[in-house]
């Protein structure tokens, strides 16, 4: 199967576009095995990326960099359609600055504020002409539905655990042949998506928050807000990363934690997270 423009592409159609604003949609395939909430942020980021790439005639593309705040308000389930919007605050040869949201059935499911993606040469990641054709398809009839099959549960092995305070685990990033998404992210250079890294970090945070809270049977806690995300380096297939979630504070409503990912002795990513009552799921 050709994974390009399929295994990790989360915009099916672009319905409206100006220099400062872009709208589109994405339907989570009914057969998708797993669609973590962080992929809604990926979808909004990819919509903004289409705007940035077309503005630079597909000679440059943005990659994940900074996200000041991501709010998770609702989960997305297989079969549901996300309405995507992004506001482009600034877009030049160095970076794109944007914000945006994803909605399900008219209700906001995710908000992204103050994101910044460094622009890099397209040729490192994909073939410009092919990307241009994909963009024209998205702006015209739209892409074929159901291309995404799901992503695996992160392979995490705890290495240090102070219940309710700190959890450190090794993340085994899948090999190139183990995960179809590497063929799409990106066709010429496989990079472990930052949104999947945040999904893995979020799982550690939920474990620590659950241990830290006083009333553990008062409903499920999940990531609600992620702030100060910074992706510093690319993570290749097969990498081993040390992930950590450390409690900052906790009350009856939520817990706040510091997140970090390290590889080869250097920082790969960092963020803060608030974990609290689960978002409402619409069916």
């Amino acid at each position: 199967m050709n994974e390009r423009f399929a295994a990790f592409s989360f915009v099916d159609r672009i319905s409206r576009r100006t220099l400062q604003h872009i709208e589109g949609q994405y339907t989570v395939p009914a057969h998708a095995t797993r669609f973590p909430a962080s992929l809604m942020a990926e979808a909004v980021g990819q919509l903004a990326a289409w705007s940035a790439m077309s503005s630079h005639d597909f000679s440059l593309r943005p990659v994940a960099g900074l996200a000041a705040r991501t709010r998770y308000l609702q989960a997305a389930c297989p079969g549901q359609t996300l309405t995507l919007e992004a506001e482009i605050v600034r877009c030049d040869a160095e970076a794109i600055a944007y914000g945006g949201r994803a909605s399900i059935g008219g209700r906001c499911a995710l908000e992204l504020d103050d994101c910044l993606g460094p622009m890099l040469p397209m040729e490192e990641f994909d073939e410009a002409q092919a990307v241009r054709r994909d963009f024209e398809m998205l702006c015209g009839p739209g892409a074929a539905a159901g291309r995404f099959g799901g992503v695996p549960v992160p392979d995490l092995e705890p290495t240090e655990h102070l219940p309710g305070r700190r959890l450190v685990a090794t993340l085994r990033v899948p090999g190139r042949d183990e995960a179809p998404f590497f063929g799409d992210h990106f066709p010429r250079r496989a990079v472990y998506p930052g949104t999947l890294l945040l999904d893995a970090l979020g799982r550690l945070a939920v474990t620590v928050a659950d241990e830290a809270r006083a009333e553990r049977d008062a409903g499920e806690w999940l990531p609600r807000t992620v702030t100060d995300v910074k992706i510093r380096t690319f993570t290749p297939p097969g990498a081993r990363l040390e992930l950590s979630a450390e409690l900052i504070d906790v009350d009856t409503h939520c817990a706040r934690l510091k997140l970090a990912a390290r590889g080869d002795g250097r920082s790969v990513a960092s963020a803060k997270i608030e974990v609290g009552a689960a978002p409402e799921v619409t069916t």
Binding site: D92, L116, K230, R232
Partner: protein, 142 residues
């Protein structure tokens, strides 16, 4: 391009806030942010940190800092060809950099200096001056 010199008083006025923004961006203690220490060599800053920093300074001070503005200002009146040759800063470029980045000790201008390594020279004071220039530009435009 000539500009009115930035006084130490102007730098001191913005430094506490700039230092806090740098500490937030780099995840270090504000006490570790020294005005004349290289951000890359002293605080392990990377290119994404500079993007983050400029973004935070814009929001923190309510100013616009055009991308690439620091290097553009550093080049001053010199053309790109006068400033660098095959990626190496020329003698004229070095002279211009020394006069522009007065906060950088002379011994840190090693030669040959790659243009791509210019950010290695940047210190917190460099960013204080960026903020002061942006504030002046905003006032001039008002």
């Amino acid at each position: 391009m000539s500009e009115q010199a930035i006084s130490q008083q102007e730098i001191d006025a913005v430094f506490p806030k700039v230092a806090q923004i740098i500490a937030d961006a780099l995840g270090c203690d504000v006490e570790d942010v020294k005005a004349k220490e290289s951000l890359i060599e002293g605080l392990d800053a990377e290119s994404i940190d500079f993007l983050d920093l400029v973004f935070r300074l814009e929001r923190g001070f309510g100013v616009k800092i055009p991308r690439g503005k620091i290097v553009e200002d550093a080049r001053g009146p010199l053309s790109e060809a006068e400033f660098e040759n095959k990626g190496i800063v020329t003698d004229a470029g070095l002279e211009r950099l020394r006069s522009f980045l007065t906060e950088v000790p002379p011994e840190r201008f090693r030669t040959p200096l790659k243009a791509a390594d210019i950010p290695r020279l940047f210190t917190p004071e460099t960013f204080c001056k960026v903020v002061v220039r942006a504030q002046r530009a905003a006032q001039a435009a008002a």
